[in-house]
Every structure is written in C-alpha cells, then in structure tokens.
C-alpha cells in the first residue's frame, strides 16, 4: 500500500507563503546492498516528485538513492488562489503514486 501523508494548510491568506509537508511510504532500496550470500539487491527508488498548484508546476525534485526510506520533503509556495495542490511520485519498476489536497485562499 503506497500511502502518503500530506500536510497543506486548509486555509491561507492571498500572498501568504505556506509550508507543504509530504511523506510517502517507500523502501528506497539503494541498489548498493547485498544479501548475506553476496547477491546484489536491485535498486528500487522513487526518482521524481512533482507538485502542481491548479495544474501549474510549483516544485520538482529528482531523488537519488541517498534519500532516506519513506521520503519526507518539505517545501514552500505562495498561496495565490483557491484550488487543488496535486502531488505525483514516480520511480523504478513503474512506481507511481498521486495525492491531492485542496486549499481555500481568502
């Protein structure tokens, strides 16, 4: 179950800079580990995270194996108008997860 925990303020004032916290469950297997018999464990990570605000991209990150498991990313954006913030994670082995949150801007 790829579960994500998003924290977006429900309400904000126009022009206010708001913090967005995102947490998604993913093991982020680095590809550098081996089993006890020396067999390499293949890489399986989230490689990209994109956030859009009413369909316009506001944040993009390229992730590497050095990002800890269950990637946690906090960033900021200006509350411009009411609408939907959408988040998409993509990664190895066709991994894809999306979440969204609505915000009311006064």
């Amino acid at each position: 179950m790829a579960r994500a925990l998003i924290n977006v303020p429900a309400k904000a004032k126009r022009g206010e800079v708001i913090a967005i916290k995102t947490l998604i469950s993913h093991e982020m297997e680095t590809g550098f580990r081996h089993t006890t018999t020396g067999v390499p464990i293949p890489r399986n990570i989230i490689t990209s995270f994109v956030a859009t605000y009413n369909k316009e991209e506001i944040f993009r990150a390229v992730l590497f194996p050095a990002i800890a498991a269950n990637p946690f990313i906090t960033f900021y954006t200006v509350a411009t108008e009411s609408g939907t913030l959408a988040f998409e994670w993509t990664g190895d082995n066709g991994f894809s997860a999306t979440e969204s949150a609505t915000i009311t801007v006064e």
């Binding site: 390229v62 590497f64 050095a66 946690f72 900021y76």
Partner: protein
C-alpha cells in the same frame, strides 16, 4: 560487599564484551562497493554547475553535526533570495563526498515558491562533507559545505 564484587566483575565483563561486540559488529558490516571520492563529487558538481564558479554564501545547509544513525539524517537548505519573478532561486542541489553515489537530490523551484527553503531526510554512509549548491535566476552559483560525524548503531540486525 558481595553486591560490589558482582558490580566490578560485571563491569569488566561488559568492557570485554563491548570489544567482542564491536569486533563482531565490525565483521557484520559486510563488503561494500567502492565508495564515492571527493573527485567523483567534484565531477557530479561540475555536471550541474558547468564551468561557472561557485561562491560561498547565501546558502545555509542545516544538518546536525553529530548523528545517531546515518540511515535517516534530517537536512534542510535555506537560500537567501527575494524570490521575485526577476530574482529567484532556480535550483538547489545536494552532494556528498563519500556515499556510494555523490548526488542526493536535485530541486527545481521558481518565483512561486515564496521561500527557497527545502527539507528532507538523507542517508550518510560515513563521516563526511555535504555540499549544497543553489543556482540563481541570474546564472550565478552559491554553495555551503558542512562536515557531519556519523556514529553507527552497536547491535546491527543481519541483512535479509
């Protein structure tokens, strides 16, 4: 007095055991592939920055100087910038010196960010330097470097 003797004996026992444990755990830390070197970090940085010079300043890399466990280290990068449509931070990159791979994360922002601050959690394989680089809208590059000390857990679980 009986109690005191037990205490002294057990303490010596613990010091001996700690040695055995540390040696045991050392053997359990498995074979690793060749780690990154300062040179490969340089190459990775050049791939992003090109031939431009990196100036120290404007970037604040916030990471604890001493870490209990290298598998999850909170890191935050804050870049001074008005974040207006003509003067903003375009990208933030983080690199490490000794991880098996030098790149950590590459972040792309715009003036809509309001604040050029990003936090995440990263993995650090050993005591090493971490470098954060910010690319500004005017094409300039700024950086900050921090050295982090990692202590490893004493009782590691077997892998798989």
């Amino acid at each position: 007095m009986q109690r005191h003797d037990d205490g002294r004996r057990s303490r010596r026992g613990i010091l001996k055991a700690a040695g055995a444990l540390a040696a045991g755990c050392g053997a359990a830390i498995l074979v690793r592939p060749a780690w990154a070197t300062p040179a490969s970090m340089e190459t990775a940085i050049r791939n992003v920055v090109g031939a431009a010079a990196m100036k120290p300043g404007k970037v604040a890399l916030d990471i604890p100087p001493l870490v209990e466990n290298g598998s999850t280290v909170a890191v935050s990068v804050a870049v001074e910038s008005p974040m207006t449509p003509t003067d903003y931070v375009k990208a933030i990159h983080i690199f490490t010196e000794k991880n098996p791979q030098p790149n950590v994360i590459g972040i792309h922002l715009g003036p809509r960010a309001g604040r050029a601050t990003v936090s995440t959690r990263m993995r650090l394989v050993d005591t090493q330097k971490i470098v954060a680089i910010a690319e500004m809208s005017d094409g300039s590059f700024w950086s900050d470097t921090v050295e982090v000390i990692i202590t490893l857990g004493a009782c590691l679980e077997d892998v798989i």
